[in-house]
Symmetry: none
Subunit: 201 residues, 4 copies
């Protein structure tokens, strides 16, 4: 049991990765319950027992995909923060870059994103982490008086996260807009608001 998945040869590694790849497709398209191991395995050119050579259960492979997504996302966040510290660019550009990277990452990992950000039970937790992260950044800028003092930055973070969530599905994954565009638009909307500055009330 603990032995599972510790193959050393390259053939086994490849088989495992082939299964993971197809599993990601299946889970992304059909969700957890409607995805059948038999289908995954058949598509990968194996028989059912082979699956259990590499994964302990259906839950296990799903978790592996979720964790992969999560780790990559965390890595992205960390990297982003480091760069941010060094970066001397102006604020909107910096924010846009961060968002753009997220969209880019989602775009490059569509199946994984579907699984980790939408389908899995951990999706909520993952988003919570994202919100936490956003909140911290936003609050920092708020302290620096870049942002309005009267806003609840956690609510703002939730809003932005929700916007990302939606735009990813409706614009990014439908190939209607690219990561950069989406990032720019979000920044534009959230930074300056809808109100026409020329209109006076």
């Amino acid at each position: 049991m603990g032995q599972r998945g510790r193959q050393k040869g390259s053939v086994g590694v490849k088989s495992k990765e082939a299964i993971l790849l197809i599993a990601a497709e299946e889970f992304a398209e059909h969700g957890f319950h409607q995805t059948k191991i038999s289908t995954i395995v058949k598509r990968a050119g194996f028989t059912q027992p082979s699956f259990y050579l590499y994964f302990a259960s259906k839950e296990a492979i799903f978790q592996e995909l979720v964790q992969t997504f999560r780790k990559k996302l965390i890595h992205l966040t960390k990297k982003s923060r480091l760069e941010t510290n060094l970066d001397k660019g102006i604020l909107p550009f910096r924010i846009a870059k961060g968002l753009s990277e997220i969209f880019q990452f989602f775009d490059n990992n569509r199946n994984l994103t579907m699984i980790g950000f939408y389908i899995s039970d951990e999706a909520e937790e993952i988003k919570r982490d994202m919100v936490k992260d956003f909140t911290k950044s936003l609050q920092a800028e708020q302290l620096d008086h870049y942002f309005r003092q009267d806003l609840d930055m956690q609510t703002v973070a939730e809003c932005i996260t929700g916007s990302i969530e939606r735009l990813t599905i409706t614009k990014l994954f439908t190939d209607k807009k690219n990561p950069q565009q989406l990032a720019n638009e979000i920044v534009d909307i959230y930074l300056y608001g809808l109100q026409n500055p020329e209109t006076i009330y």
Copy 2:
């Protein structure tokens, strides 16, 4: 079969509603696949065949709940539009009222909302309708120069919808904020943006 659902007797109606109520709870909490008819029926104090007296299948009862949600939401939207036309109040207030009513509706119909807005396959379509609706309103105000001319109002509508989606789950259903508060905050954020107006770059 053609007979199904045409019960007129009050006993049957009550039974059906009891089942619907519990089904909503179960679907909302466990999702479609993990909800078992046996559980619903047991909780409602019936036996399995009784279920099929009122609903053609598991899909059917789920659909019935989704449609109930959808109709109510459409009704809300229509009512809102009618009132809006008559309403002569200033814009932010009017928008906030519309949002508040949505949140209020979600709050009053938590299980139904979970099902129709989050769990069902139609959720996407329902949100699309909501986005369409928002887009129309936003574009109207844009034409009236209340809103900035350079914004893609469909994207804005997606953003707002995503924000509602998230805040409903994280703030409304956790009883952290009430409908009015959430509506006000959204309006505040989207209308005026994050940028501190006093800070000049």
Copy 3:
């Protein structure tokens, strides 16, 4: 789950009993692991799901059989003790009667005995209880000086239990000797020993 097996109608009860009966045969003949639910159910004229209408699992039905055996055996023991107290007959006769009843019970419940006394994991425990019971009786007689003072009555009880175990398989279940005969022989052997009283060393 907790509901399983609580059928009220007589048909269900009969079905359950039919399954139990055949299951006893199968388990007795093939042991736990080699007994297949599919076989039991097929022989009983049902399909697999019906099995789970009455029993939670393969383990569950096996346990039910074991417990039935155990309860019956305990009941026998208790009854035997009560009668013993009233009985004023001479000792050997009383012992023989008790043993005879055990053999009779085993003979009347061959499959159940195979399961509870030989196959199940609880067999050891059941025998331990039997040994405990015998030990108590034997020690009582020892205190009354009917039996030799220098014997470890627990060992004697183990010996008798082992003898019963073996004779049941080799003589009783092969129809070579009947319960009464076996009981008498055991009494004769254990009470008076092998040694020829006429031979002097």
Copy 4:
């Protein structure tokens, strides 16, 4: 296939014996069906195919262990008989010695005994042989008038075998009594019986 088991190299022999040793442990503890080749092989530090280098199947290795037990037991019996013939000691001592040797053998080969005497299908046959052996000896002594004439010596042999069976499990393998003690007690019980010789009825 024809090659199997004919290894001459010392490495192979050692590997085979290592596997046999561990297999004995596993079979003794978990029985035939619950013992997994994968476990045996893992514990022995090999991979599954290596197993089939030495044994044709799971049944085969089990049989090998059973046969080892059986041969050793037969050897013991033969030796015992030879010695017996030469032995001029008095009867009870001789019998006790024989029993003691059996218990000693069981004690020295616990796993093998569990397998051959309790778990295997051949256990019955092996016990039958033991009974046959005992019967012959007992009948010889009966002819010599050392034992009572009115006893069915085969039944006695069954009883003794059952007693051995039980005491081995409950007293010997639990380290509560040693081979010599057990042998003496059995002789004492079976030879002289339970009845208090001083009590007259």
